[in-house]
């Protein structure tokens, strides 16, 4: 048996309450129920999580490497978008 008839899923695990789901990897499965089972087996047996999301990889809309410049460059010349741009008044010492 090969994985060519299986779908690819991306796996997100929330390690503990209060934290965000984090992308941990991907896996092959027949459907979303099986993907959830496998996600538990493959990604959570040692560091127990409290919640898992699986998403079909094809359903993720991702930015393209080619678009990197138009997507991310413009903010480089707008330093005022960063908090560090603003000088702090002397009165505030512990920031």
């Amino acid at each position: 048996m090969t994985t060519e008839n299986l779908e690819l899923f991306e796996v997100f695990v929330r390690p503990k309450r209060g934290l965000d789901h984090k992308h941990v990897g991907s896996l092959h499965a027949e459907d979303k129920e099986q993907a959830l089972e496998y996600a538990r087996d493959v990604y959570t047996r040692r560091t127990e999580g409290i919640s898992i999301w699986v998403v079909k990889s094809g359903d993720i809309c991702a930015s393209q490497e080619d678009d990197r410049e138009s997507f991310f460059d413009p903010s480089d010349d707008k330093p005022y978008r960063h908090a560090t741009y603003y000088p702090l008044p002397k009165e505030i010492s512990n920031m």
Binding site: M1, T2, T3, L6, L27, H28, A29, E30, E33, Q34, E37, Y38, D41, V42, R45
Partner: protein, 260 residues
């Protein structure tokens, strides 16, 4: 200090034997499942099979470990797993059958997992608190095992003509080994009277209803075969157990005390 009475000694021996045979069921099946590691149909399923194997081996450690404590003669869990011969193992025969193809493995798992679901549920009412604690832990694993084997049975039974054929073939080959799961011997009868052991005879109707429901949905049928093989609880095994034990035990026996 008073010597324990003859009856007390026998009761203690019965309890140890019960723990050991439950350990035997778990380790033999766990070992069979572990044979899939690196041979699984694809990576994710390989890992899942390995996880189930580990659940069973962990269960064997709990049963053997407590048997060793009760023995109080310096025995460890390893002595039970690695230093006993075929005739001393009392596992049900269904657990020692070869792993077969994937359909065969899934059919055996479905039968054993559903059996364990009802067995462990009943074991939670045992008068022995260690058995209750093990049952609590193991039944969580077993509900996951049942989900897995049910969904694979549906997928393969109701899949292609070839997967259906293999599933039905496996059922026909394994069915005759399912009957002894619901028989009790003298040891178990004595322990049932003291509220310790599970009366397996009472589990059959529940188990059969579960199996029928899954088979119906998967388009599979219970064979009308009348043959039955039994003997595991008395130490009479198929030819497969000896081979399994030589593989499982040879490192421990060749290098006693080896650690890594």
């Amino acid at each position: 200090m008073t010597q324990p009475s003859h009856n007390e000694v026998n009761r203690q021996q019965d309890l140890i034997s019960y723990f050991v045979r439950l350990g035997d069921d778990a380790i033999v099946l766990g070992h069979r499942m572990s044979e899939w590691v690196s041979n699984g149909p694809f990576l994710e399923e390989d890992i899942a099979l390995g996880n189930v194997a580990l659940d069973y081996i962990g269960r064997a450690r709990m049963f053997y470990g407590h048997a060793a404590t009760l023995s109080g003669d310096g025995k460890t869990e390893d002595d039970f797993a690695f230093l006993r011969d075929e005739r001393e193992f009392q596992n049900y025969l269904i657990n020692e059958l070869p792993r077969g193809d994937f359909a065969y493995t899934i059919v055996r798992q479905l039968m054993v997992d559903l059996y364990n679901k009802h067995f462990l549920q009943a074991l939670k009412s045992s008068a022995d608190e260690t058995l209750v604690a093990i049952a609590e832990k193991a039944s969580k694993e077993t509900s996951y095992h049942c989900r897995r084997s049910k969904s694979w049975t549906l997928r393969l039974g109701d899949g292609t003509a070839e997967s259906h054929r293999r599933m039905q073939l496996a059922i026909d080959e394994i069915w005759g080994y399912s009957h002894e799961l619901f028989e009790t011997d003298d040891l178990e009868k004595r322990l049932i009277n003291t509220g310790i052991a599970v009366n397996c005879e009472q589990l059959k109707a529940l188990w059969l209803a579960d199996i029928e429901a899954v088979f119906n949905e998967a388009g599979l049928t219970i064979p009308e075969l009348t043959w039955t093989v039994r003997g595991g609880r008395s130490g009479y095994h198929t030819e497969h157990l000896g081979h399994l034990l030589t593989q499982m035990q040879f490192v421990y026996r060749s290098f006693p005390g080896a650690t890594w």
